[in-house]
Amino acid sequence: MDSKIDDIGCLIRSAQNGDEQAMTRLITIHKGLVFTIIMRMTNDYHTSEDLTQETFIKVFLNIKKVKSREHFRPWICTIARNIVRDYYRRTKSHATISFDQVKEFHGQWDQSTRRRVVIQDALAKLVERDRILLTLTYYQGLNLREVAEVMKMTESNVKVCIHRARKRLRRHLEGYENELM
């Protein structure tokens, strides 16, 4: 873990000096995190790809402002969230996802597709904050301090909200156990 942090510290310093290889490596390490957050906010693959690029461009235009490697991940997440909000402010529309859209996206309804549709639908029913909280903690494995920094909440509040979000998600999945198992 420490060596990974040190690697990122070195990459940030190199990127600050204009090293393109370091920038590319930083994108490779963090693109999953950024893309997933944006995808959970927009529910659109191609828009998410564009906004992920936009996020990294903004990151590298401002990378000289990064003073501490510990705050780098939360900082990127904050930029990603702001980029999506700016995008919606500009386009004046908000993403919604329907069961039909998910069905259309996944095509045929085999067992695994049915499972995916059920989970996607349950996730789509959550409010944006719950989706982001679950994404950051479950999939991206950010620690409580990092999540708190991204969400501008206290650590104890994050913990409470994650528990509530998880319970809400579980409630939306109720009755679909057969599809999931």
């Binding site: 994108i27 893309f35 992920t52």
Partner: protein, 158 residues
């Protein structure tokens, strides 16, 4: 649904919030409790579903290709911003030192010489401006310049 008291601990377990002893206790419990096993499977399925497949290298290549262009735009924005600031600074200076003292007949008491100069210039402009169409045109262009600067400043966030 949550018929087992350990269910709530699963999320703490997944977030690494349990002590070693609590972890061992939960892992032992998971081996025998079907309710918790089912909850754990759902947790893992959700985690899988949150993951999104990305084409390798696509985001990297696109970003690195767009970056130099954006850096150039950023530099242009900086000079544009500097230009707007100069225009606004000049406007503020003219309003403070020429127009206001003239219109309000406000003597700049701490600077009597400057006061004499500014009100003199104000009177000079007020006499010349209506009579001289070139000066009126310059004034009109200047007002347009200020308006465009203010407009672009307001809309310069992106």
């Amino acid at each position: 649904m949550n018929s087992c008291e350990y269910v709530d601990k699963i999320i703490d377990y997944r977030m690494g919030q349990l002590t070693e002893e609590q972890k061992r206790e939960l892992e032992l419990h998971l081996k025998s409790c079907t309710v918790c096993q089912r909850e754990m499977i759902i947790e893992l399925l959700v985690e899988d579903e949150l993951a999104v497949e990305l084409e390798p290298g696509f985001i990297e290549n696109k970003t690195m290709a767009r970056l130099p262009l954006r850096q150039a735009q950023d530099l242009r924005s900086f000079w544009l911003y500097a230009y707007r600031m100069v225009v606004l600074g000049m406007t503020a200076a003219i309003v403070c030192f020429v127009l206001l003292p003239f219109l309000l007949k406000f003597p700049l008491k701490p600077f009597p010489d400057l006061s004499r100069y500014t009100s003199g210039l104000g009177e000079f402009l007020s006499v010349l401006a209506p009579a001289n169409p070139i000066l009126v045109a310059i004034g009109f262009c200047y007002i347009l310049l200020i308006a465009s600067s203010v407009y672009s400043l307001v809309h310069s966030r992106h």
